[in-house]
Symmetry: C2
Amino acid sequence: MLRTHTCGELGEKEIGRTVKLCGWVGARRDHGNLIFIDVRDGYGATQVVFDPQSGRDIHKLGESLRPEFVVKIEGKVKKRPEGTANAKIATGLIEVAAERVDILNKSATPPFEIIDDTSVTEESRLRYRYLDLRRPCMQRIFRLRHKVCKLARDYFDERNFVEVETPILTKSTPEGARDYLVPSRVNPGMFYALPQSPQLFKQILMASSFDRYFQIAKCFRDEDLRTDRQPEFTQFDIEMSFVTEEDIFESSEGLMKKLFKEAIGVDLKVPFPRIKYADAMSRFGCDKPDLRFALELVEITEIVEECKFKIFRDVVKNKGKVIAVNATGCGGYSRGQIVELIEFVKGYGAKGLANFKSENGALTSQIGKFFTSGELLAIRAASRAADGDMIFIVADKQKVAYDSMAGLRKLLGKQLNLIDEKEFKFLWVTDFPLFKYNEEEKRWESEHHPFTSVHPDDIKLLERGESLDKIRSRSYDLVINGAEIGSGSIRIHESKLQELIFKTIGIGEEEAAMRFGFLLDAFKYGAPPHGGIAFGLDRLMTLFAGCESIRDVIAFPKTQKAFCPMTNAPSIVDERQLNELGIRIKK
Amino acid sequence: MLRTHTCGELGEKEIGRTVKLCGWVGARRDHGNLIFIDVRDGYGATQVVFDPQSGRDIHKLGESLRPEFVVKIEGKVKKRPEGTANAKIATGLIEVAAERVDILNKSATPPFEIIDDTSVTEESRLRYRYLDLRRPCMQRIFRLRHKVCKLARDYFDERNFVEVETPILTKSTPEGARDYLVPSRVNPGMFYALPQSPQLFKQILMASSFDRYFQIAKCFRDEDLRTDRQPEFTQFDIEMSFVTEEDIFESSEGLMKKLFKEAIGVDLKVPFPRIKYADAMSRFGCDKPDLRFALELVEITEIVEECKFKIFRDVVKNKGKVIAVNATGCGGYSRGQIVELIEFVKGYGAKGLANFKSENGALTSQIGKFFTSGELLAIRAASRAADGDMIFIVADKQKVAYDSMAGLRKLLGKQLNLIDEKEFKFLWVTDFPLFKYNEEEKRWESEHHPFTSVHPDDIKLLERGESLDKIRSRSYDLVINGAEIGSGSIRIHESKLQELIFKTIGIGEEEAAMRFGFLLDAFKYGAPPHGGIAFGLDRLMTLFAGCESIRDVIAFPKTQKAFCPMTNAPSIVDERQLNELGIRIKK
C-alpha cells in the first residue's frame, strides 16, 4: 500500500520512525514559519508539521495544500513539544515532520467543512454524501454498523443457524403495504415484486428442513413515507422449526445481550419482562410502552359509571373508557400548563381532559361537584394519588382514550424528567389480537399477517367464527424504550387452519391459491411447527449510535419523497427501455 | 425445543438415554413384526424402531406413518444389533426404540422421493423446491454456502474491511447489460434501476474515506438468459484506496486460499501465476485459459506467409492469423475423428481445419504438396511435434482463429483425458485492452467499464486519440480452470482522465453529467487512488459443491425464462396497482 500506517494509529512507540501516511487535508494552523496540517482518514487524524528547515520545497508544498486535497506524506514521527499534546485524539502525543509530500488529488473547496459539529442542512449532506460520510461521527456509525452485523452473524453461526439468501425479484408478499413492482421484459405484461420481507420464503425454508434460518435481509415497502421510514430497509430475519415462543425469546434475548454489550458496552438483564397485549393497553394505553418511567394509567370506568357528570356517564353508556393518570407532584400546575395538556390530548381526537388536584387527603376540581365524595375517594385511591399530585382523566371511545392517554403519559414522562436517556428498557408484548376490523372496507383483516398462529385457548372461537375481536394470536413484539424493535409469531403450519384463516378474512380459495399457493402446497407435504421474528436493524442502529433518524445510519438513504439527492434516483428513462419492457407512462 | 437432539448426532455415547427427535419420515423397512423408519432432518437421519413389544399403540402408529410425515419421536437410544450397523451414516451405530410418537403434521404423497440420487426433472425440482431442498445433497450445499460467506466475512473483518450496504433502489449502472427498472409511485414517470453491481457506490465509498470496503452484494442483470446466468446473483464485492494491483492480488489470494482450504480442504499455492492478456490470447486463444493441461497454441502466420497454399496465403494477406496446435499422440486419428473436429471448428465460423501428421521426423498431409519442406519443418519445430503427433491448423480472421482454436484446445484436453477434475488452476490475466470496437454501432466502447484506469505506458496514446485498440488498461481477471471467477481494475480517480475516457467512447458532457454526475462531482472533492475486484459467489459455489449449474447453489433460482416455477413470479398484477404507479401495459 501507499502508506505504512493509517492516520489513527501513530503513538509514542513509533517516535523516531519514518512513516508514510495517506489521507485528506483537514484543519490547518500556521504558526510563524511552521505550518500544521491535520491529515485525516477513516481511522483518525495525525498532525503533520511543515518546517522551512526541512527544505523550502516541502514548506512551499505545505503552503499550497487546501482542504480535502488527498496527500501522501512521508516523514519522521516526533514527540510533540511539551505542552502541545492533544489528549482528545489518539495520535495526540506525536506529530509527523513532513519530509516528502505527494498530492494524490486536488479538491475544489468543499461546500461544507468536514467536522462533526456542523450546521449544514440534511439536504446538502445527502447531496454530497461522500463528504458527509468523511465526518468522523459518520465513519464511527458505519464502522459500528459493520460490527453489529458481524456480531449478529457470529451469534447465529455459533448457534447453527444457516444464512440463506432469499430472492429480491419475487412475488408480492402480504404485509399490508404497497409492493415495488419490476416489469419483466422476458415475460411481457408480468411483474416481479420486491419483497416486503422474506416471510413466505423463510416459512418455505422451514418446510425445506432448514430448522434454524437467519438472514440480514433487505426489505422494500412503497409507503407514503413517514418521518422515519425508508423505501428499502434492513432486518435481522429469523425463523426456527420445532420450537415454541420460549425458544424464540431465548434466542432473541441472547442476541440483544450480545449486541448491547459488545456494540455499546451495556449489560442487559435477561430474560426480558413480558406483558400481554391487553395488559399493556390497560396499563399504558399502547402496545409499545416505554418502561423507563411509571405513570401507569388507571381505568376508572366502573367508578364513574353512575356519577352525575354527564360526559363521563355518556361515555360509559356508549361502551367507551374513562382513563386516569396520576401526574405525580403536578398538583401545582398552572392554568396555562393544564390548558396546554388539554390541547395536546385534543390532537388525538379527545374531547377534553379533566383534572383533579389531590390535596389534604382529598380531590378538588372544577367539576368536583358532579361527584360524590365516595367517587372522588375511589378515583384518588385507584390513581394512588398523594397530596400534591394531579390526576388527569380522558373519557372517550376506547381508541381515543387509549391513544390520547398514552400520548399524555409520554409527554408527562418527558416534562417531569422521568426518563434516563442512558437506560434501555426491554419488554416482550405478547398475545396480540389475531384480527382487526377494517372500518373503511367493512371487513376483518389480520393484525400481524395471515400466517400467524392462533392462541390455543381461542381456537374454538375461530372455528365458530365468534367474537373475532377477542381471538388472541401467538404473536409477540420486542419493545425497547417505547419503540418496536422486533416482531414475530409462531406460524400456522397446517393447511386446514391456514385455509380457515384465509376464509375468515375474506380471501377466497382462488385468491389464496394465486397469491400463496406455493406456501399452501408446501404445507401439504409436511411442514414442521415453526415460528420466528425479525428485528429492524436501522432502528436498532439509531439506538446504538444515539441518532434521531434512520437516515443517519443508512449509507445512502432516500428523502421522504423516496428520492436520492446524490444520484438523482429515481429518474426518467429512455423510451427505448420502456418499449423493451412493454410498458408506457400514463399521461 | 421440541427435540433433545437433531437426527444427525446420536452415537454410542448416548446409548441408554431417552431422547426426543423431530423430523421427516424417510425410508421404511418392515421386518416381520419390527418396523424400521429413518427419521430425517437437515442434519442427518436416525433409524427408529417400532417394536410391538413396546406397546401395540406405538406399533400401530408406526404402521400409519407415511413418507414426509413430520414426527416427534421419544424413545431410548440402543446399540444396533451385531451386523446391522450402517457405516455410511453418522448415526449408523445406534437406533432409537420408539416409546412415544407424535405426528406433528401429515404429508400427501410427495411427487418425488427425497433422496440424493434422483432422476426427477429440474422443472419439478424447482416447482417443489421445498422438497428438493430437503435432499441431503442440497442441505449440504446451502450449509456450505453459509459457511463460505461466513469465512469471507471473517477474512475481511480481520483485515479491517468494512461491510457497507449499498442501495438496491438506485440509478442505472453502466455495466453493459440491461437494467431492471422499478417505477416510482411517489415520483410519477420516474424509475429506479436495480444495480448491476455496486460499482459506482463502492467508488463513492472510497471518496467517503472508507478505504477498505467489502460487501456480499446482490446484483441484477436483465439479460437474455444463457445457460448459466440468473436475473439476480451474488458477488463478493471489494474496493480499496491507496493501493496498487499488488494489494488487490494479495487480498484476493488470501481470500481464495482461506476459502478453498476451509470449505473443501484444498491447499492453494500463492501467489497465483499471472499472464498478460496479449500472451493469453497468443498462447491459448482466449482470455480465460484452463491451465490444467498444456496443448498451447502456436502462431505460424509468418512461416506460411509465402507458402503455395492459397487459403493460408490469403488469410495472411488479409491480416488474419494462422494458428496451430500440436495434438500430442493423435497421429493415429481416423478420418472420422478428424472430420468431427473439422465440424467442431466450423461451429465457431472457421472455414476449415488443416491437419499434418508427424511421422518419421517429418510432416505428412493431404495438402502437404503446397508447402516446401523448409516450411513443413518450420511448422513441425514451432509446434514441437514428435513422431505420432498430429498438428491441427486454423487460418482465419483473428477472432475466428482464436475462438475456434481455443475451443479445439479445450475439446482435445477433454478427449485426451488431460484434465484432472480435482485440480484447481488459478491464473491472473492482466493488461486487458481498455477499449473494444463495437462493429454494429461503429464506435469504441469500454472493454471493462468506463471507470477503469489506463496503463501508464499507454496514456500518451489515449491523449493523442491514437491506436485505441493498442491501449491497455489496469484491469485484471481471476480465472480458475478456464472460468472467470473475479474481475476488477485500478480505477480512475481524477476528473480530467475520466472526462477524456468519456469523450473517447462518445459520452458527451451532458450525458456524463446525467448518468454519472455524482461520481464526477465526488472526483472534484478529493477522491483517493483506488481499485477493487468482485468475485462471483454463485460460480465459486459450483466449484466448491461440484455442481454443473448455478441453479443448484441458489436457494430459489429462476429458469432460463427468468421465471420461478415455485411462486410463479413474475405474474400479472392488479390494474389498480398499475394505475397507482402511473404506468400501463403496451398492447
